[in-house]
Symmetry: C2
Subunit: 424 residues, 2 copies
């Protein structure tokens, strides 16, 4: 297996730091628009693991917005797999470039949605991933696999859902992905600061788009942003966090392979973050349409959302100043195998102190990057396989969770949690 990694930002860098400990591949080509970022990732691997290990890594420049360039780089290095680790706006071009190069493809976020033109808060328009699923036949016909939504959420959450469906429930009422954290970032003086642990650009996109919900009797539909707030009690000391509906891939993926009356995604944004997002929207600062602003040289056209991102600390840089844990999981309700009501929460917790010490990566990007590495190892070993455009729940969850949990060096030493909860 030869992997072209597109993007050496927070998640791409963590992907490289995780996969370097494994041996199922021959080559990782670390590519970025900014060659120095790719080189920095390879240099950090070389410094930690020595040149023998880092010989399997190469740093190259790439333009992810250009499918031909993606295909050319993939072909040049004989990539068998393309791993997309950049912002979702580049999904289309990397997806097309991979197919053109005859490489399998993995991503962690799917092609973007467009709101319904006249009724955006009730009906779906172009849904997340629609563009990719529309091309499924091209992938099937060439015998290639596109494994989409294979990060932590979507990704591990979908694996958990498949596991619950196969092994824990005879009938499912709701597959509810629930994500919450108790992360705190401090400045040099120890004062708490506002510093999102994930790309603010992507967070704005997913939180301000109308959230999508699936119901078996209704199909997919949308609601107003931040709808149906609910306090969800997260495990391992994180505690209760206010969660709201957010547009997310799980809701589009799970119903394609799993039976459930309802599929939702709620994100534990917390009151402060919701307030910030609402204010950005109120002032038009979430917009990606450029506005004219006075600049050093007369004036410039800039997108307000890019300015917001430029004002905040780079999520990749905040690890050393962050404390706390993040939890990703799926809350499943329905009837157990015995036909009795059942409610479980399947989850994985990532502790920033541990990921920083072990991997020099902050916990949110590390947790995201872990899962595609495991999936690629299963694909390399033949435990997973398929053609077409497939989500994580299209594959057997058991080998994934076993490999994840097995101690190093055989597995990844990552235990996952299971709570049986009483229904309210």
């Amino acid at each position: 297996m030869k992997i072209l990694l597109v993007g050496a930002g927070g998640v791409g860098d963590a992907f490289a730091k995780i996969i370097v400990r494994r041996s199922f591949y021959e080559l990782i080509v670390v590519s970025d628009y900014d060659l120095r970022r790719a080189e920095r990732t390879v240099a950090s691997i070389s410094a930690k693991h020595g040149e023998d290990v880092s010989a399997r890594f190469k740093a190259v420049q790439i333009d992810a917005s250009d499918p031909e360039r993606v295909a050319a780089v993939a072909l040049e290095h004989g990539a068998t797999h393309v791993m997309n680790a950049v912002e979702p706006k580049f999904v289309s071009s990397i997806f097309a470039g991979s197919l053109a190069a005859g490489a399998d493809y993995v991503d962690m976020a799917m092609s973007m949605s467009k709101p319904h033109p006249t009724d955006p808060l009730a009906q779906t328009g172009v849904k997340l991933g629609d563009e990719q699923f529309a091309q499924a036949a091209d992938w099937e016909n060439t015998g290639r696999l596109a494994l989409v939504g294979m990060g932590v959420e979507p990704g591990l959450s979908d694996v958990f859902a498949r596991y619950a469906s196969d092994h824990l429930f005879s009938e499912i009422d709701e597959l509810g992905t629930r994500d919450g954290a108790n992360l705190i970032v401090r400045d040099e003086n120890g004062n708490e600061i506002f510093a999102p642990s994930f790309s603010i650009w992507t967070t704005i996109e997913e939180c301000l788009n109308p959230p999508v919900i699936f119901e078996r009797d209704r199909g997919w539909f949308t609601t107003a942003p931040f709808s149906e707030p609910e306090m969800f009690d997260f495990p391992e000391g994180i505690g209760p966090v206010e969660c709201v509906n957010v547009e997310h891939e799980e809701v589009l993926l799970m119903p394609r392979w799993l039976e459930a009356k309802r599929v939702t995604f709620k994100y534990g944004l917390g009151e402060e973050f919701i307030g910030v997002l609402k204010t950005l929207h109120l002032l038009g600062l979430d917009s990606v349409e450029p506005v004219r602003v006075r600049a050093a040289a007369g004036s410039a056209m800039v997108a307000p959302r890019d300015v917001v991102a430029a004002c905040l600390p780079d999520p990749a840089s905040i690890g050393p100043r962050m404390t706390g844990k993040t939890c990703a999981g799926v809350w499943v309700t329905g009837l157990g195998l015995d036909g009795a009501p059942r409610e479980v929460y399947l989850y994985h917790v990532s502790d920033n102190e541990w990921t920083m010490k072990e991997y020099d990566a902050q916990c949110v990007v590390w947790q995201t990057a872990l899962n595609p590495v495991i999936a690629l190892e299963l694909l390399a070993g033949g435990e997973w396989g398929g053609v077409g455009v497939l989500g994580p729940e299209a594959f057997d969850a058991k080998p994934f969770l076993e490999l994840m949990q097995a101690p190093e060096p055989a597995g990844y030493g990552q235990s996952w949690g299971f709570q049986d909860r009483l229904r309210g």
Copy 2:
């Protein structure tokens, strides 16, 4: 009297529209950095009042940041008075240019403050107006007058304070300027939108600087932004609005001429606006330090605060879509002339519907521009006079309030209100 008006933005334009109805002067030179703006103001006067009237108005170009250029334009037109109607960052240069030209000077906001370098939330640094008062001797020695802070707040508020001190109280506990409104702006479809009625740039500056408070036993000191929130009940249907401490000129002006135990300024920002300002600060979007942002042509350096301003509607343009009233006034507590506890609120209300119909100006800028016109008429008639750097409270309030209240054409037909309130 020949007046050089510097600035034909919202307030300057309203100043011209108000003064055109009066006859105490020979010439108004309307100047702006953008000559077209000055010409537009003169053209609108000509269209409404005819060419005979507008013959007393001239439009010229000026660079308000250059004291020599200000002096040259003043001398060229034989200006006896310079009226500063631009952003406070140009106070220094216009102030110097007026003195150099031997003209009297009027402004509506004073030279800017600088926070205390090490203890900004408790101690004052350079205070509002310090730079101007430091030059008082130059004005006294040349026999010229600089009347500073002569808008509505500061301005009319200071006139009210002088009136209360002279005619209503034997001893004053607090002179508390209180400003509140119930203005609403709608978009083309009638939906309420977020659109501040005054420059967001200036609003951020005054609201996020540490507010200053005066106490007789302590002198001037500062607090954290948005301190001491209080619900203040505004008259004429506006009702209760949450007010917080804000840095404002009244607190620096009133103690120089009036006796009071405490002087404060509170602005009825309301909960939503306070939330917006806090969020802008939290995210660093209030900053005037340029950040690098990707732009059409590679990247650009832009100040986040300029981007916020660019995303919002121009306050000068929202008048037609705005409804409601704004109220400026001073709440005074202490002992009445009879020695018994007394509490009064002296105020002036400006109704947007009326100012749009009568003056084609939105109510906030119109109310600001009204007061320097009245003051100039008093100076022209000799009812007011003096040399040096003086605030509005250095002059007798009675002729001002009488001229303001007298029906047109003798006066300005603007009644002001007076509420006797019980102390809580």
